[in-house]
């Protein structure tokens, strides 16, 4: 996710603002959802980890942009434990569920079930908030 440099340009189109806000809201939603679940589930841990890394990178980028615009330092994200497997039908599911790469099928299914429940609830909450604002 690339973030535009607010300080640099000083001017942003509405589109970009909206995109940025969308991104932020989504981050907040995901983060709070994972926070509630806590470290009890693999996917929540993985999600929190990912979000934290992302925040760190962005903060790092911003700070460095203050110093110099031209240098782009990309911090290498820590590699999640890679387990090589034969291509499986469940690979797509692994991509969808956070932290799904390092799970066996059995726990993957369990995590998916819990993840689905949490996602559904998140959708409901956000829907109700949107309704609250639109009325």
């Amino acid at each position: 996710m690339k973030r535009s440099n607010r300080l640099g340009t000083g001017f942003q189109s509405n589109e970009e603002i909206r995109k940025r806000n969308t991104q932020r809201i989504k981050t907040v939603a995901d983060r709070s959802m994972a926070r509630v679940v806590g470290p009890r589930k693999i996917w929540s841990r993985a999600l929190l980890f990912k979000l934290r890394n992302r925040a760190r990178i962005q903060v790092g980028l911003r700070k460095r942009c203050l110093v110099s615009k031209k240098k782009k330092v990309l911090r290498k994200e820590k590699k999640v434990q890679v387990i090589s497997r034969e291509p499986n039908r469940a690979d797509n599911l692994r991509k969808l569920v956070p932290g799904g790469d390092s799970m066996d099928i059995c726990s993957l299914l369990e995590e998916t079930a819990h993840y689905i429940k949490c996602l559904a609830t998140q959708v409901k909450v956000m829907q109700s908030i949107a309704d609250l604002y639109s009325t």
């Binding site: 939603a29 962005q58 956000m126």
Partner: protein, 376 residues
Amino acid sequence: MDGSGDNNGDLGYQNRAESVMNCPSSGMNTNPFYASAWDPVVSLSRPGNFVGSSTGSQSEFSNSPFPIVMENPGISNTCHLVRYPSDSGFIELVPKFPGFGSGNFSEMVGSLGLTDCSQIVNAGCPPNYKEANNESTSHGAQRQEDHQLSEETTIGALPNGKRRRRVAESNSPFDPNKNAEGEFQKYPSGESSDSAKELDEKKQKIEQNRGANSCGKQVVKQTKDNPQSREAPKENYIHVRARRGQATNSHSLAERVRREKISERMRMLQELVPGCNKITGKAVMLDEIINYVQSLQQQVEFLSMKLATVNPELYNDVERIQSKDILHSRGGNEAIRGLSPGTNSHPVFTWDFSTWHTSHSKSQSTFFSSTSCYIR
């Protein structure tokens, strides 16, 4: 246990009760007694299995004569408990049985509380039975597994391969707690009158004998049951029994357990994903699950976009809030409850959606919401 058991007015009753408890301790010595009618409590080969509170009364138990057991026809029908739960609760339960000799087990069970009943039933139920039930109810399976695992510690002391799980000849005792009937049929050789230590040999013979008496489905192929899943790993493992006509290799057993776990989870997912009731087959089901997860994630994104547009913010403070971990505070705001449908076997969890701080300018600030949502 109420002390010496003398509090029971009925001496005969007490003797019966004692003899029940007594059987395991002296069951080894008196095999011929059990030849005919009674399914003794086998796995209690050690008195240590009883709780410490009962050990004091063990001595008087051992004094009661055996013929009482055989004289009482009621017991032969009723005493099918295989394993007592390792807590003292069961010891206390025995005197409570109303007509221990006369009534059948279901009455006894019925007189107890449901929790006790489930304890006994889960204790006495063979793991195959549990395994068979695992396929039907995931919730039940959770319970059973818990009980299984809690029982492992007591069973660990028993010698290898000498564990013998029996099921009551009458299916009724276990019906209230399990969807018994259909699965009970699967159980290969529930009945055997042999008791104690030399289970391996006697089991084979008696199984063959009894097999003829048991229900029709089980008559066929007795021999395959003999090399039972005694190779199943002991001690803190989930005990699995090979069913009729299935390979008894330990690898294939583990494989089967794994497969059943997976299918159980697939069934759970099938309930979660709407419109998947008629789908049979893992591949199609997986695709449906993937689609559903994708659609849910898209919905979240769409809703976040909607919220971003609906909420005219010039400055969104979210990162600051996140970095300060304010999200976790539940600053007493709106609570949205009952959003999700009711009964679920999942644990409750509370959910703080977000604490927002939006400000048009430095002077203004509006707090949006911190929503708690209880999911049951």
